[in-house]
Symmetry: C2
Subunit: 471 residues, 2 copies
């Protein structure tokens, strides 16, 4: 598993057929802010602009010191996160806060070298694409927005954005009074968490969504695919049954197809929301259950299994019925840089080990091999990953000195395995959502929300209110 | 006042005639550790070696998890700090700790480009000379020394080294369980502390050391020097009376001479220790009192004043009687890079505003002008200072989230004006030494120590012991 999964979700999110900005519920001004390309050396004075979204419509105009709710943007276009993080807006309305969503450097339109940013023949273009540079961007932007005023600023983020929010509070506690880090797998790094945990949790989600035959069928499907793909006629059949954009021709094609399926299962578990959503792809409510409905009976033979798999996977790949083909190579949307972005981050600092064992998961057995991983990174981007950067800087499991961070995790979210599930002290809050998928609590309130997410949001709101009042 | 004062002390310390490593009381192995030149980008893989001093002779060999006392080296050869920080050694003996003194990059023998390091025609050579790069060096070194073990590591530092120790604990609380920051002026930055405070405290030290005529005489001396230097014959007299290495010839020479005297007064206040010392220069016990003895009577006229000044200043410039001449231009020791070092740091991040008002100090009136300061930095090193870097990153006066730091300050130390004198919370300890000069508490115990420094060391030892025990 070369690319970390976190990335893939974005590739898919922007794949053709999905319309991620469909629900443009929230309004904002789009602004720009100039930041140094390199905050940490005195080599050059180069700067560029990052984007941020700004809305102060909830603010009581007689209060010059309104709180700022600051979303620490992650791996994608910031407008997408703004539209998919309704809780920030709902709470801002209650607390009369300014809402700011900051775009992460190297994503969306915050590209230091414009359209030439990801030119891998110019390694200096990618050199400043790091967590620390990004956090400094945010620290400078907040300092600018505060304009000399002492204001309570709260950081928000989900997934990698939640990791940034947590780290931001750890490193800049003088700038943000606290952070809500939703589904933030800050422990998904070498030496901290077993590499198979993500795939184990995903398996468990599929085992329990409808009945256990679902994961059993998926577990058997790998061999069935390989058997069928061993002949040219079989490859054609697969291409046809799964509506593949690129026909299966080579062993590499088959590998890409099977890798893609593994990613789809992870994405489905993440986006296993209780209502229709378009977060990763247009999906029905509880999509894992929907998919598993097609796999509820143990297939009698490989042909039957392949047919059921085709029906099942369409829940993810073509729920709208309008997707022309299954883009298992993720190559269709060349104008979107975001897949480049996360692939690069996985090759510099975001080294997240993944592996699986077929004996206790529905996945194929795969091992984690740092050397291979590094070699691929170097080949692809001339980057040598620094797998221990993050642990060195942010402390791994040693979070005793942290304060005013809420780590929320849905237990149905495969990323929860790398999340903080035990509070290191009384000033760090851990909120567990037994029925929650990937940062469900950050999304807008919905009538179909399970009780645990309502409770979680209430707790989060109360804690954040307390931080603001204490300030 | 171009260069920050912190620097000057080192220039003088290493000036000819002083023998700073005279008392080599402490023994250690000198080792090297390889660090990346740039921790914060993926531009290149260049690395170099920093030095560190290592002594594990106090460790109980049956204890594999002995504490590490880690001195975060500051602006100079690390051996000098090791020999002048006896308290670290004394406490290590009590606590059976490993002692490590780490040399700051760009100082001593830890030069990234060897003898070409300070070649100002190669700006990339100076680019990575920052606080953040240095702290990462230390984090990596400690991680290496821990070798996978969970060990209680305590940071120690005095002056700029104390600032580093405090910031290290703030940013890497997972690596050091606490820090003793002795005389660490972390608030001596733009917008945090009035720029005249250093010179006010120095004046007050001179006012009270013997009698108030001392500072009154010094206050009058500036005009006396200018009057005398207005003729060539007068310049010759001054050159002769003060044994100047470079004869006074131009207005620039006079300016350099008077600037030097101002620096001497600051250094004397800093090194106003209760016993003979060789910290900044070979000095008698309570050198300010000694100097002021020569200025105890209000001079009847300018000639008498100049003569008394010559006797008084010899306390600093030639206490040993062996210094050939007064090196007011600090140009004698060209082999020593340390003056380069601090001058460069004052021109990148260590922008410390200084000013004075002749109406309430013994100094000439001078203003703080950032524009002029920046222009000089650019002219000298092609560096544009970032005066707000430090406040942005380390929080200025907002230290509420800090924990396990001891800030100790001697009230007779001019740097105490930029020190932390009020604890932001119960986990940060402020220890005041009413009779203390510059990090007197970090020095070896001495029979002449005033009670306040003994008390301070006892408190410090108890707090550090508690951190270790809690760990």
């Amino acid at each position: 598993m070369f690319a970390a999964l976190c990335c893939v979700l974005l590739v898919l999110a922007f794949a053709p057929g999905s319309k991620v900005l469909a629900e443009e519920k929230f309004q904002y001004a789009i602004k720009e802010f100039t930041v140094p390309l390199d905050h940490y050396s005195f080599l050059s004075n180069t700067s560029f602009n990052i984007r941020y979204l700004y809305n102060d419509s909830y603010v009581d105009k007689t209060n010059p010191d309104a709180p700022i709710f600051f979303y620490t943007g992650n791996e994608g276009d910031i407008e997408w996160f703004a539209q998919n993080s309704g809780f920030v807006w709902e709470l801002a309305a209650k607390e009369h806060a300014v809402v700011v969503f900051a775009e992460h450097r190297y994503y969306g339109k915050s590209l230091p070298y414009g359209s030439d940013t990801f030119n891998t023949s110019k390694p200096e273009h990618l050199a400043y694409f790091t967590v620390e540079q990004t956090l400094e961007d945010y620290a400078m932007l907040i300092t600018f927005l505060r304009n000399g005023r002492e204001l309570p600023v709260v950081a928000f983020g989900g997934s990698y954005g939640g990791m940034l929010a947590a780290w931001f509070r750890m490193k800049y506690p003088h700038i943000v009074i606290g952070a809500l880090a939703a589904s933030a797998p800050i422990l998904q790094f070498p030496g901290l968490t077993p590499c198979e945990i993500f795939n184990r949790i995903t398996t468990s989600v599929f085992e329990t969504a409808y009945n256990a035959n679902c994961s059993a069928n998926i577990g058997k499907s790998w061999k069935a695919f390989e058997t069928l793909a061993s002949t040219d006629a079989g490859k054609l059949q697969l291409t046809d049954k799964f509506h593949l954009c690129d026909p299966l021709k080579t062993a590499d094609d088959l590998k890409a197809f099977l890798d893609y399926l593994e990613e789809v299962y992870g994405n489905l578990a993440m986006a296993n929301y209780p209502y229709n959503s378009s977060f990763l792809a247009p999906l029905p409510a509880y999509p894992v259950r929907q998919l598993c409905y097609y796999l509820k009976d143990l297939a009698a033979n490989e042909t039957e299994l392949i047919n059921s798999m085709a029906s099942a996977l369409a829940v993810y790949t073509n729920y709208t019925g309008t997707t022309p083909c299954m883009d298992y190579k993720n190559t269709r949307d060349t104008a979107n840089f975001d897949d480049h972005g996360w692939n690069i981050q996985s090759c510099n600092q975001m080294v997240m080990p993944f592996c699986a064992n077929s004996s206790d998961t529905m996945y194929r057995t795969s091992t984690w091999n740092l050397k291979e991983y590094s070699d691929k990174c170097f080949k692809k981007f001339q980057l040598t990953p620094k797998p221990y950067d993050i642990v060195l800087r942010y402390g791994g499991r040693n979070l005793e000195a942290a304060s005013n961070i809420i780590f929320s995790n849905g237990l149905l979210d495969p990323w929860s395995g790398g999340g903080v599930l035990q509070a290191p002290n009384s000033e760090v809050h851990v909120i567990i959502l037994p029925e929650g998928a990937h940062h469900l609590d950050l999304r807008s309130s919905h009538s179909a929300d399970p009780p645990s997410v309502k409770d979680a949001r209430e707790k989060e709101a109360a804690i954040i209110k307390q931080w603001i009042e204490k300030f």
